[in-house]
């Protein structure tokens, strides 16, 4: 008997296809916007993580402490700071080489190379942190360690960028939530219209002895089917649009830090989320409107 409401639900969509279509379009429009926001805020999160991940603290060792014993001590002290994930040593020679490598121009590199004989660089440690938000606190703690000449973490700007992106992402999540609620209202209203047009039907169903649950079930299924149908176009747009975006950008925006997720499975995940939102929104919307109509009736 479970299949009855499902069958009735499909039949309801077929026989009231005008109403079903207008409800589905309401869902389609909202889900399309939700999809864009989902893709956007998902990537903001990925980008933020990437930046956070690539944010390392450069700890420059004082010349006077450039010996194995002292450096080992510094390393262990850094490792003890809370929030530190990994510490990597870089010798002054490696530092100089890295400095040289910054020049694209081979001629420039040749001019600069002789300075390596009297290496102006110091030994250094590169510290990875567990959470980008903590970078400032950790830096100031490392600065206090004996033998540390200078601590550098890309400056306040980086921290600001990360926190700004985090804020945008949070606003995005709130926006998606708000849009979902809007979609529920839209579908609730259209289904309410369908139901008031079908008030007589419900009265008749009650006349022949149908319980509220028996009357409600097909309407709720109808709502879920409409919600799902409404999600199909946004799903197609998401898959197609994201593939196109990925191909156009080769998966990279601005720099390697901002790389896009692979279209498969990413666009499929988003599609799943959209279908789920559509179905849930249809369920809640139709349940609310039928229940409102069924209450307080004998």
């Amino acid at each position: 008997m479970i299949s009855r409401p499902i069958k009735e639900g499909f039949r309801g969509v077929g026989r009231h296809w005008g109403m079903a279509l207008s409800s589905a379009i309401a869902v389609t429009i909202t889900l399309t916007i939700i999809s864009i926001f989902l893709v956007f805020s998902w990537h903001l999160r990925v980008f933020t993580k990437n930046i956070e991940y690539s944010m390392k603290i450069a700890v420059i060792v004082d010349e006077k402490y450039e010996n194995e014993a002292a450096e080992e001590k510094i390393r262990s002290q850094i490792e003890q700071v809370e929030g530190v994930k990994a510490v990597e040593f870089s010798s002054k020679e490696a530092e100089f080489q890295y400095y040289l490598d910054q020049y694209d121009d081979a001629a420039m590199r040749e001019v600069m190379a002789p300075f390596g004989d009297d290496n102006p660089m110091n030994d250094a440690f590169y510290v990875e942190v567990e959470d980008g938000d903590l970078i400032e606190v950790i830096s100031s703690q490392i600065r206090e360690i004996d033998g540390v000449e200078k601590v550098d973490y890309g400056g306040q700007t980086t921290v600001d960028v990360v926190s700004a992106m985090e804020t945008i992402r949070r606003v995005g999540v709130i926006f998606v939530a708000a849009l979902s609620i809007l979609a529920i209202f839209l579908i609730q209203n259209t289904i309410k219209l369908t139901i008031s047009a079908r008030q007589d039907e419900i009265t008749i169903m009650r006349n022949v002895g149908a319980t509220n649950g028996f009357i409600r079930a097909p309407f709720v299924w109808e709502g879920m089917i409409i919600g799902f149908l409404g999600s199909l176009l946004p799903i197609a747009l998401t898959i197609w649009g994201y593939m196109a975006l990925y191909q156009h950008t080769q998966g990279i925006v601005f720099s390697a830090l901002f790389n896009l997720e692979k279209p498969i499975p990413f666009s499929l995940y988003i599609s799943g989320i959209l279908a789920l939102i559509g179905i849930v929104v249809g369920y809640i919307g139709s349940w609310l409107s039928v229940t409102k109509y069924l209450r307080w009736k004998r």
Binding site: R15, D200, E201, N207, V208, G209, F214, R298
Partner: protein, 230 residues
């Protein structure tokens, strides 16, 4: 089968619809309730099918105190009675066959039995060939037959008919009457029929209760009715 004892009904807006109604209907009886518009006929039907609750008094149908039922119990109660309306009240988006099966699915009857019973009652009302038609494709008389088929499908002990011939011409009205009489005789179904069609009442004579301004003014066991102002 139907027992109304000192039943009063006053609506929330202050309208007094029924005063001290006492009716007792035996099993297998066929009874008319007649009266002009506003006499309380519709209210009586609403009390009988559980849509309204009496202000005072007791309404008992098939032994159930209808007025004391909770809202959630009303649909269950309605499975004991069949109701036929003047405007047929068929589900417009369902076929004749589906309209009848709906009433049987509601009582959770098994699928093969549902089909068999639906076919059987379609035969009883003479619409065996119209199973796939939608209500709007049928004439008024045919639609009323479907409504009757639906009402008797789950073998109710009581059939309440609210002006079942109200929208039909005399010829079709006679056919519906003949059908109701057949059901009454063949299945022993108690039938309470509300009407203001005096021609019909005088032609097919049965016990007749006359309502006026909410009062029972006559209960004629021999049937037939002569207006008292004539």
């Amino acid at each position: 089968m139907i027992e109304c004892t000192h039943v009063y009904k006053k609506y929330k807006n202050g309208t007094n619809a029924l005063y001290d109604i006492n009716i007792s209907v035996e099993q297998g009886e066929f009874i008319y309730i007649i009266g002009p518009t506003g006499s309380g006929k519709s209210t009586l039907i609403k009390l009988l099918d559980g849509e309204e609750v009496p202000t005072k008094g007791v309404v008992k149908v098939v032994g159930i105190d209808v007025g004391s039922l909770r809202a959630s119990q009303v649909p269950i109660y309605r499975r004991n009675i069949g109701v036929v309306f003047q405007d047929y009240r068929l589900l417009p988006t369902k076929t004749v066959f589906e309209n009848i099966t709906y009433a049987l699915e509601v009582i959770k009857m098994k699928k093969p039995q549902v089909r068999a019973r639906a076919k059987e009652v379609m035969g009883v009302v003479g619409l065996g060939e119209k199973g796939n038609a939608f209500p709007h494709e049928l004439s008024g008389g045919q639609q009323q037959r479907v409504a009757i088929a639906r009402a008797i499908a789950n073998r109710p002990k009581v059939l309440i008919a609210d002006e079942p011939t109200g929208n039909l011409d005399p010829g079709k009205s006679d056919e519906i009457m003949a059908l109701l009489e057949r059901i009454n005789k063949r299945y022993g179904t108690t039938i309470l029929m509300v009407t203001h069609d005096l021609t019909l009442v005088n032609k097919h004579r049965k016990r007749t209760v006359v309502l006026e301004h909410g009062h029972i003014v006559a209960d004629l066991a021999e049937g037939g009715y002569v207006r008292h102002d004539q």
